[in-house]
Symmetry: C2
């Protein structure tokens, strides 16, 4: 096994900032959604792909893949949203084992009312601090890191 | 209220990459820690600041602030780790209401065994895809976004 390489001090600082940012950005979105729309970030995460899907309906497994959640987390969240009338579970026509999740009329009204404030928050916190060139550079960095995480890493520019 | 500004398509793509990266990077760290050290990322998150503190002991509230968790999440996680002998709860000498959390000998051995593999994973996935200049640039971007999230935003370079 090769010698482990520790993080250099400036890397440890950047890594710490990244982790703190992930957490605080999530918290800021949650607070904005709760305050302005009475929904959680988890509600929003499921409502958004449903509202963009054809007919407002997705297989539960596709919805789970979209948000990257384990099955039990997804199932609990759908149950909570079903009780509040935001989504409805349906049997899948082609597959007895597959459940479908459908956006209700109330669910659609909720996401449509919440979306502008959410977009405004993301813009203000994540994009406005950077100029357009910097936004492009950040996007390139994130893509390269994502490729490494997915095991298809490329070498950095020399 | 000003007109909401939607995300431009390239921004929506970057935002989606960022969210996916947050999730997948967390998952990759969790898998590596579970596989190589038999601990979770949540275990690691608490063991690391304890191991760096003087005497291996911290007030529970300071530990919670360090990781940014709600009190109930912190308390459950400490209970699980206490059962496995990684940490011990103690009363606080100066403050009857304050609980202290102490790293046990087993906890210290666990974090010391886990740290090199964890650092190696962070390095390989997060830093190796970028060259040294790019790492510095990413650090600057993250700091500026963090400042906006903390409500002390600065303007981007023109």
């Amino acid at each position: 096994m090769p010698e482990p390489r520790w993080l250099a001090p400036h890397e440890a600082e950047i890594w710490s900032t990244y982790r703190r940012l992930s957490r605080e950005l999530q918290r800021a979105q949650d607070q904005q959604l709760q305050r302005d729309s009475g929904i959680s970030a988890a509600d929003y995460a499921l409502l958004a792909p449903l509202s963009e899907s054809e007919g407002g309906v997705l297989r539960a497994r596709d919805l789970g893949a979209e948000v990257g959640w384990e099955r039990s987390r997804l199932s609990h969240q759908i149950s909570r949203m079903e009780k509040r009338g935001l989504v409805a579970r349906e049997a899948c026509e082609d597959d007895a084992r597959g459940a479908m999740v459908r956006l209700t009329e109330k669910g659609r009204e909720t996401i449509e009312a919440a979306a502008p404030g959410h977009a405004e928050t993301v813009r203000r916190l994540f994009f406005d601090p950077l100029n357009p060139d910097e936004v492009g550079t950040l996007g390139m960095f994130l893509k390269r890191i994502m490729a490494a995480v997915e095991g298809r890493g490329e070498s950095p520019a020399p």
